[in-house]
């Protein structure tokens, strides 16, 4: 290796080395803040999906019950006739749906979630 090659190697190593400095606390804080927000969003998404699924099940139960009642010869048959279980399912579905709606509004109010912005350096 010539002296010039050696000089080049030394230059390259020096110039490409990572900068010598203390750790960047602001960057660490920024990454941590974003990670916290990601966790919150993930929890919020998960809760929203759960609410949606339960809501759909409740609505489906309600709709099926309603369809069966509509198919009955008369409303009196549905109430007093040979379909007491359908009526029970209908009432239960409706109750679950109302309960879910109530829980949704309560959790949305208490969580007060919104996408906070992370300050950038």
């Amino acid at each position: 290796m010539t002296e010039r090659d050696q000089g080049f190697d030394e230059f390259l190593h020096y110039a490409l080395a990572p900068p010598e400095r203390e750790e960047d606390h602001a960057f660490v804080a920024r990454v941590q803040a974003v990670a916290r927000m990601e966790d919150r969003w993930a929890a919020e998404r998960s809760a929203a999906w759960r609410r949606f699924t339960f809501g759909m099940v409740a609505i489906a139960a309600f709709a099926i019950g309603l369809a069966i009642i509509m198919a009955a010869p008369s409303a009196t048959d549905a109430m007093t006739g040979d379909r007491p279980t359908v009526l029970a399912a209908l009432i239960a579905g409706f109750g679950a749906w109302v309960a879910l709606l109530a829980r949704d509004s309560r959790s949305a109010t208490s969580a007060g979630l919104g996408r906070a912005r992370v300050p950038r350096r």
Binding site: H13, A15, P18, E23, V31, A35
Partner: protein
């Protein structure tokens, strides 16, 4: 060559269990090297965003780190994929090709940025990792997802190009 990182594996396992302090320790320890690499790669304006994205992936998928490679190797590989994804999009901050000013010496920065700017993306990355950051060829190959032989020839080619350009300017 960077020091061994058994401690990193422990921190990563703790981060996988949701330990934010362990995650912060990993970020604090590795941000300088990773951001230095990304800045030199020409992502001066996007380097912090890419590094942040890489660290977030570490936070999300810390449980997938199996400890076979160094933590820094795994992290750099994640960041490299983020960089490549970004480079595929038409983003002006990555289109210039030249490196960013990563070091402390403005004169050396100007020269090395000029040299790096004339290299291809993979050549630049391989040269920075092996010649500047002190990674072995094997580790750099793993980081960049290249076969070892390809990595070695890429580094040799990049270095030869830089040496030729450097010699021209110093004659």
């Amino acid at each position: 060559m960077p020091e061994r990182d058994d401690q990193d594996a422990v921190l990563c396992r703790r981060a996988a269990r949701g330990d934010r302090a362990a995650f912060a320790a990993l970020v604090a320890k590795h941000e300088r090297g990773l951001r230095g690499f990304l800045v030199r790669m020409g992502a001066a304006h996007a380097s912090d965003d890419i590094a942040q994205e890489a660290f977030l992936k570490v936070w999300r998928f810390a449980g997938q780190y199996d400890g076979r490679a160094r933590f820094a190797t795994w992290l750099t590989r994640i960041a490299w994929r983020c960089y490549i994804d970004l480079a595929r999009r038409p983003r002006p901050e990555l289109d210039a090709g030249a490196g960013g000013s990563g070091g402390d010496d403005p004169a050396a920065n100007a020269v090395v940025d000029d040299l790096l700017g004339r290299l291809g993306t993979v050549e630049r990355a391989a040269l920075i990792l092996c010649e500047g950051h002190g990674w072995s060829h094997g580790e750099a190959a793993e980081m960049l997802g290249l076969p070892l032989g390809t990595l070695k020839s890429t580094v040799a080619r990049a270095k030869a190009k830089c040496r030729a350009m450097w010699s021209e300017e110093h004659d």
